[in-house]
């Protein structure tokens, strides 16, 4: 950015300074509408939510005040505390499983599939992205249900005597999530892998490293940025998603988004829903802090 335009010319003659002022005013004027939009429809609502989270409900009326009661309830009431635990457990399992499944897939596409077929293989690997998100969860309900394709196939080949219940359990939620995030992570890890120079692997081999040692000590560490970017995205999207746990997991154990929706739907308890949202955001911030040094969000 420096070294372009008249603003960084060596001599600060009055003419240059006035051009610079003009440039700045113009730049700011261009940025203002977008900033205004974000402030009005994102920052302001966030502040309203923060304030609301310290209010409480009397009957159906929101009573404003500075009341930490909602937060105390979140961390003491078993049903709410369980929501945080369930959300964290599901999200962590999903993130780890997705990385473990997606890494080899990305590696095979990048290293084993002939270059001219790689783009096609990658597009196929993310094809189900293009169904609607709601429909994708519904499709897993078709597959995993007691009379669904998978159970019937397993019973057909004699692996099972009777259907096992997967729908409306945590397993169904996890399968649905992993399906989505394997696609996402395959993309981020693949784009990281193809940028690696093959010389790293050759150098390691020349120095006597076995294939496995090269993979473990050289290649995998070099793909950490791709893994972490994908893992962070997975964490954010997974912990905040209402659709998948609602369709596949049912109402047996509720995740945080389900609890938030429950507060809204049942009693219109905006204060409690806001407090739960703030806690959810705090968890995402922690995940960001944990992965920040590998993330390249600005280079998206």
């Amino acid at each position: 950015m420096i070294g372009s335009g008249p603003s960084t010319g060596p001599g600060l003659s009055p003419a240059n300074m006035s051009i610079e002022r003009h440039e700045r005013r113009y730049g700011l004027a261009l940025a203002l509408p977008a900033l205004g939009w974000t402030v009005a429809f994102f920052l302001l609502p966030f502040i309203v939510m923060l304030v609301l989270s310290f209010a409480h409900l009397e009957g159906r009326e929101v009573v404003q005040g500075f009341d930490t009661g909602n937060y105390q309830r979140i961390f003491t009431e078993p049903s709410l505390l369980k929501g945080i635990r369930v959300s964290l457990e599901i999200t962590l399992v999903v993130t780890i499983l997705s990385v473990i499944l997606a890494w080899p897939l990305a590696w095979i596409i990048a290293m084993q599939v002939p270059p001219r077929w790689q783009r096609l293989a990658l597009m196929l690997a993310v094809l189900p992205f293009w169904t609607s998100y709601v429909v994708r969860s519904y499709s897993w309900a078709l597959v995993l249900g007691e009379s669904g394709v998978m159970m019937q196939a397993l019973i057909g080949i004699g692996a099972l005597d009777a259907p096992v219940q997967i729908m409306a359990t945590r397993a169904a939620t996890i399968i649905g999530f992993v399906h989505f995030f394997v696609m996402l992570l395959t993309l981020t890890i693949y784009s990281n892998l193809v940028q690696l120079s093959p010389n790293y692997a050759r150098a390691a081999a020349d120095l006597g490293a076995s294939g496995w040692a090269t993979l473990r000590l050289i290649i995998i560490p070099l793909t950490l940025p791709g893994i972490m970017t994908g893992a962070f995205l997975t964490f954010v999207l997974c912990i905040g998603d209402y659709i998948t746990p609602q369709i596949l997991g049912g109402n047996n154990e509720l995740t945080m988004p389900q609890l938030i929706m429950l507060q809204l739907g049942r009693r219109g308890d905006f204060p409690m829903a806001s407090a739960l949202s703030i806690v959810l955001m705090a968890l995402v911030t922690l995940a960001y802090a944990a992965t920040a040094r590998w993330l390249k969000m600005d280079r998206l």
Partner: protein
């Protein structure tokens, strides 16, 4: 080792395609439940879905919201990227941070915040409210893509145009936009895709005029049905068709 690789590839592709294949196959189911054994094929569910006024209206609503909100997000994002990449302002980094911030917040929370504000000022749930929410989620995306795409050679070309006496609007329309065409198209279509498929904001911020994902959601309440398979397959088919057209026309040209 290589054989293992191909087996793994096949297994994962199987996992990835299993639900979509099931969805499409049982949209042709003859009986009322989309589960084995398959007893089709029939197109009657497609006929039923296309004759459903509510669904078709929802589809049109979704398209409108997606096309308009994405256009607005693109315009705001382009202006901001142009403004912030040209000069270093005091607080540039902060402004970029503010613009990107919505990317890291769950849609549910954005929806809840907007719902609280709209309730407070008396704005009723509507497609317009949903569109506002969709601009919030897509603006950071458009901004980030366009900001990353603005390089030095583009700034030099703009400078040249300015020196030759072009007005700022001429520069934007005749120099900046054509140079950024691939990034503009990518940002726009990504935004349209996200808006088109977005559920929770539309669910909380619409009431009578709903979008397609919300309409599909309400279909799910009546349980499994080949009609739901049919509408899901249609959405899939249309998306793939658009993707192929884009790939062949716009992006292939852009790459070469």
């Amino acid at each position: 080792m290589r054989v293992l690789g191909w087996i793994y590839l096949g297994a994962l592709f199987g996992f990835i395609f299993l639900p979509v294949a099931t969805l499409v196959l049982f949209s042709f189911q003859e009986s009322r439940l989309p589960v084995p054994p398959f007893d089709g094929p029939t197109l009657k569910w497609y006929a039923q879905v296309l004759a459903d006024r509510g669904l078709v209206e929802a589809l049109v609503n979704s398209l409108l919201v997606a096309l308009i909100s994405s256009a607005l997000a693109l315009l705001l994002g382009l202006c901001a990227a142009q403004g912030l990449s040209r000069v270093i302002l005091p607080g540039s980094a902060l402004m970029r941070g503010v613009l990107i911030a919505p990317l890291t917040v769950s849609y549910l929370i954005i929806a809840l915040g907007l719902l609280s504000v709209f309730n407070a000022v008396g704005v009723r749930p509507s497609l317009m409210a949903t569109g506002i929410g969709h601009v919030v989620i897509n603006l950071p995306l458009c901004f980030a893509i366009l900001f990353a795409a603005m390089g030095d050679h583009q700034k030099n070309a703009e400078q040249a145009a300015r020196d030759l006496g072009a007005s700022e609007w001429q520069i934007m329309a005749l120099v900046t936009a054509p140079m950024l065409k691939p990034a503009l198209l990518a940002a726009y279509f990504l935004s349209v895709t996200f808006s088109w498929d977005e559920f929770i904001i539309a669910f909380l911020l619409t009431r009578f005029d709903v979008t397609l994902p919300v309409e599909i959601w309400s279909m799910l309440r009546s349980g499994l049905s080949p009609a739901t398979n049919a509408i899901g397959s249609l959405v899939f088919l249309v998306s793939i068709a658009v993707l192929i057209v884009l790939e062949v026309t716009v992006f292939r040209k852009a790459r070469s």
